[in-house]
């Protein structure tokens, strides 16, 4: 068979096949030609599709590269904003918890007029226990005003500038607070011990003081209000030959963690009233 004749047979066969396909399609019934072709082509289609998928992905990426870069920049910006917002929200939650604690304390002592202040620094000397707060004389602060946290007494205002003030902590060695043991009503004076801890001195012999006892301010002397928690007795040193007992006291407030404090505005220390009257 020569080549043109061969080609003509192929063309006629293809045309016949197409004609048969059309006729079968027109009849609306099953189409064995289509089914046979589909059956034969399906594996090839599957293999080709699998093979072409990475290529299609790469070409898709290349086509969308500039768009992706823009999206990336936008998403990075949004990510930074959201991270910032999360940090702010976490800070707000912490502050909220602190303020709730202060509010609970305030509602437990409604007669106290309290002013909240942020701790903005600490004394640069290791021998001195002072805090620096962001409220000052412009906010009504005066020297000697008691400074509290929700857990108890922290100290008192050492000096007040216009916009800031220093707080002398009860752990400072120059601090002393008249105190009373809640359980036994034994009195004494709580003094700072080199900024390291508290010591309750001048507890009369015969009074019972035990570890764990709550130490409160007694109000004697008029420099602090009564019934503020100072701390808890850690140990007692009593000697038969000594006139008084002495107790080591753990402060109720961990000053190293403090971020906000409360200043008691409606309490005027007696010694300051006397100083002001004389001046």
């Amino acid at each position: 068979m020569n080549k043109p004749r061969h080609q003509a047979i192929v063309v006629i066969l293809v045309l016949a096949l197409i004609l048969a396909w059309l006729v079968l399609d027109q009849r609306g019934g099953p189409n064995p030609i289509r089914d046979g072709l589909s059956y034969a082509l399906a594996p090839m289609q599957f293999a080709l599709t699998r093979a072409m998928r990475p290529v299609a992905t790469v070409t898709g990426y290349l086509g969308r590269l500039s768009q992706l870069e823009r999206d990336n920049a936008t998403l990075r910006g949004e990510n930074a904003t959201l991270r910032n917002q999360i940090t702010l929200l976490q800070e707000a939650a912490i502050e909220n918890a602190r303020l709730r604690e202060q509010l609970r304390f305030q509602s437990s002592v409604p007669s106290y007029q309290l002013l909240s202040a942020e701790v903005i620094g600490r004394d640069p000397n290791n021998l001195i226990e002072y805090l620096i707060i962001d409220r000052g004389a412009d906010d009504g602060l005066r020297r000697g005003m008691p400074v509290l946290a929700a857990e108890g007494l922290i100290g008192r205002i050492g000096s007040a500038n216009a916009a800031s003030a220093t707080v002398m902590l009860i752990t400072d060695s120059s601090s002393s607070v008249s105190a009373i043991i809640q359980r036994s009503r034994a009195t004494g004076v709580v003094q700072g011990y080199a900024g390291l801890e508290l010591r309750m001195r001048y507890i009369p012999q015969g009074e019972t003081v035990e570890p764990g006892d709550v130490v409160l301010s007694s109000g004697l002397g008029g420099n602090f209000p009564r019934r503020l928690v100072i701390g808890y007795v850690a140990s007692v040193e009593a000697q038969d030959v000594a006139m008084f007992q002495e107790a080591r006291v753990t402060p109720a407030v961990q000053v190293s963690d403090l971020e906000t404090v409360m200043v008691l505005l409606n309490f005027a220390p007696l010694e300051l009233d006397a100083e002001e009257a004389s001046s």
């Binding site: 620094g121 600490r122 004394d123 000397n125 290791n126 120059s174 080199a194």
Partner: protein, 151 residues
Amino acid sequence: MQATWVSRLRIFGVNPDLVLMLVIGWVLVRGLREGLLVALVGGLVMECLTGAPLGATTAALVLAAWLTSLAEANVFRTAWYLPYAAIVLATLVYYGTLMFFLRMAGQLLPWITVLGRVILPCVTINLVLMPAIYLACRWLHRRMGPEPVEW
């Protein structure tokens, strides 16, 4: 920095004495005259932030600077141990002076307890951090030009 950032950096219950280290570093690289100036300025700034008796911090810094310069005069400047020896001496002088002023102001400090729980930890921390401060001072010194001649 000393009252805010450094005060948060509590090691062994105490803070590093950044201003003191800076003063001593400056005395070692630039001499007593400039060291005293740094001590005066640093001391006056610290006076605004401290509850210590007025003038105590400045006096302690100035005394520490002066005694360090005296000690330095007897040691070769290139001796590797000079910054270490200087900061140990200066820290002891600084806290000794502060305690003297506090005692004068009527504060009863338990000397032995303070020595063991405040001063010795401070000496240790300052000793560890001093090389970094000293190198920073030397770097600044090289950038600032020649040292003034002292007669």
